[in-house]
């Protein structure tokens, strides 16, 4: 079989077909990592690019991500058996006082679609929770989302908490959300600003690759 078929079915959101094709590929002896990269991640990369370019919309991303998860469920034990590790680990959450999770969830999906391990802290996340998670789970990056102008100020508190914990040299902070700008990122001393979910995932992957390469 051609692994690209998995990618295409994933892009179409055909969850059952993706799971079946992943199983078929395993049965035919393809290494799990190859199936992951050339099938699932390739499909999500296409989805991410199309979403970034407004060629597809949120429901299509969600449906594709569901298909990816179905395929990943089949693949996961085989990846572990092969000793394949995630390309990096980050934590993500919507800042304290803010209950909006749409943007955060999209970023998480795009990151997972690029092979990152993402610890989802949910919504209304206190600065200390980000820091604690980053330390305990050995995350390379803290990702903060906010929808409201009234809550984006918490992002500055996260930067402060990271500084106070003395981990800023190891753990970088990325921020995003409707009212957030590059100017604001610079102003509060955060490390990265992402204007959209796909860009956020690209930034995180790049940074995690740098960490992995020392």
């Amino acid at each position: 079989m051609d692994l690209h078929e998995i990618s295409e079915k994933l892009q179409a959101g055909a969850a059952k077909a993706v799971a079946a094709l992943v199983q078929q590929a395993l049965d035919e002896g393809y290494p799990a990592q190859k199936i992951l990269e050339e099938g699932l991640l390739d499909g999500m990369n296409v989805i991410g690019e199309k979403f970034k370019n407004n060629e597809i919309y949120v429901p299509e991303v969600l449906i594709a991500a569901r298909a990816m998860n179905k395929g990943a469920e089949v693949l996961k034990p085989h990846l572990a058996a092969e000793g394949v590790k995630a390309t990096g680990k980050v934590c993500i959450g919507t800042v304290q006082g803010d209950l909006h999770d749409i943007g955060k969830n999209l970023v998480k999906m795009m990151m997972e679609g690029k092979g990152l391990e993402v610890v989802d802290l949910g919504v209304d996340v206190a600065p200390s929770t980000y820091v604690q998670c980053a330390i305990e789970q050995n995350c390379s990056m803290i990702c903060c989302s906010a929808l409201l102008t009234t809550t984006m100020g918490v992002m500055a508190d996260v930067v402060k908490a990271v500084e106070e914990a003395g981990i800023h040299d190891k753990v970088k902070i990325m921020i995003g959300g409707a009212p957030v700008t590059q100017h604001y990122c610079d102003q509060i001393g955060a490390d990265f600003y992402a204007a959209d979910a796909t860009t956020a995932a690209e930034i995180a992957v790049d940074y995690c690759a740098k960490v992995a390469n020392g």
Partner: protein, 320 residues
């Protein structure tokens, strides 16, 4: 012209004596006038404890206060608050009484408006996943649900018309700053036919339909205009919607409301606020068919002096 006549002129793309104003909701009554629009006694949990006579008295006082606040603000359209238990197909007796009292207190010289949408809006959190999956897995069931929601809205809007509510604000949000939640093709399938039905029936009732949505509407604006609302509301500048461009493209088919930059009102400079208000009046006012308002609502937390500032600019520039 009285307020009602002015609103009708603008909504029908005529030229009134001056540009009217209103807001979908006004959340600064406490800060600017000393108390909230809805008295605590009429909130859920407390209204049930009032006798009929007490309830009627409180509702009349609320109508008087609303008429005072909106009179001071010079609104041509008053958004009616729902009180008591409104259902999917009807308004509560208390809301009906409030409408009657408002019409009496304002001497029928102001247009009343009420929420009248019944189309899908951007779902929150986990509901979003479920909605996306249902669109993919069971589209016919989703369409059946859309039809039921539209039928309910149509029924309730008819009751509103009978009660004296002349305009409907259709507030299902469809768009993010980056663009629509649904693709244009999905919008055409799961929203547009039902929005069209709701507006068509509202027109049949003699009501004026103001379609609101936040966000960047440009990829679906043509489909929204094809549903024939009297006006489009929000025209969100934070999402890059330019009222000048919308006026050029669709000003001959639909009236426009909004576009005064809400984020600037809260966090921008005075110059940015002034520039936004002046831009809207400069480009949307000519030829009629414009109602001055913010790109969302004067929400809690917005500095009242900023809101007063745009009302002052409106007063300086509003006359035709």
């Amino acid at each position: 012209m009285n307020h009602r006549e002015r609103a009708i002129a603008a909504l029908t793309r005529q030229i009134p004596d001056h540009v009217p104003t209103f807001e979908l909701e006004y959340q600064l009554a406490d800060e600017m006038f000393g108390k909230p629009l809805v008295p605590p006694e009429l909130h859920p949990g407390r209204i049930e404890k009032l006798s009929q006579a007490e309830k009627e008295k409180k509702i009349y006082e609320m109508a008087e206060y609303m008429a005072y606040v909106y009179g001071e603000l010079d609104y041509s359209i008053i958004p009616v608050n729902a009180i008591g238990n409104c259902t999917a197909t009807d308004i509560s007796p208390e809301t009906r009484l409030l409408i009657k009292d408002l019409l009496d207190v304002t001497n029928h010289q102001v247009m009343l408006t009420f929420h009248g949408d019944g189309t899908f809006y951007i779902p929150d959190g986990n509901e979003m996943y479920e909605f996306a999956y249902r669109i993919a897995d069971e589209p016919d069931e989703v369409k059946a649900q859309a039809q039921q929601m539209a039928n309910n809205a149509i029924e309730r809007n008819k009751r509103l018309a009978e009660a004296g509510v002349e305009s409907l604000i259709l507030c299902s949000d469809y768009c993010y700053n980056s663009g629509p939640f649904l693709s244009p093709a999905m919008f055409a399938e799961f929203i547009q036919p039902y929005l069209y039905q709701i507006i068509k029936e509202a027109r049949r009732n003699g009501q004026y339909a103001i379609k609101h949505t936040d966000g960047n509407i440009m990829p679906i604006i043509q489909m929204m205009v094809d549903c024939e609302p009297h006006a489009l509301h929000s025209l969100d500048p934070m999402a890059g919607v330019d009222i000048k461009k919308v006026k050029e493209l669709y000003g001959d088919r639909v009236a426009l409301c909004g576009n005064v930059h809400c984020a600037a009102l809260q966090t921008g400079t005075d110059e940015e606020v002034r520039a936004s208000a002046e831009y809207c009046l400069t480009w949307a006012k000519p030829g009629g068919g414009y109602i001055f308002c913010t790109s969302n609502v004067p929400f809690k937390g917005m500095p009242p002096e900023r809101y007063r500032m745009i009302l002052d600019i409106w007063k300086q520039m509003r006359d035709y």
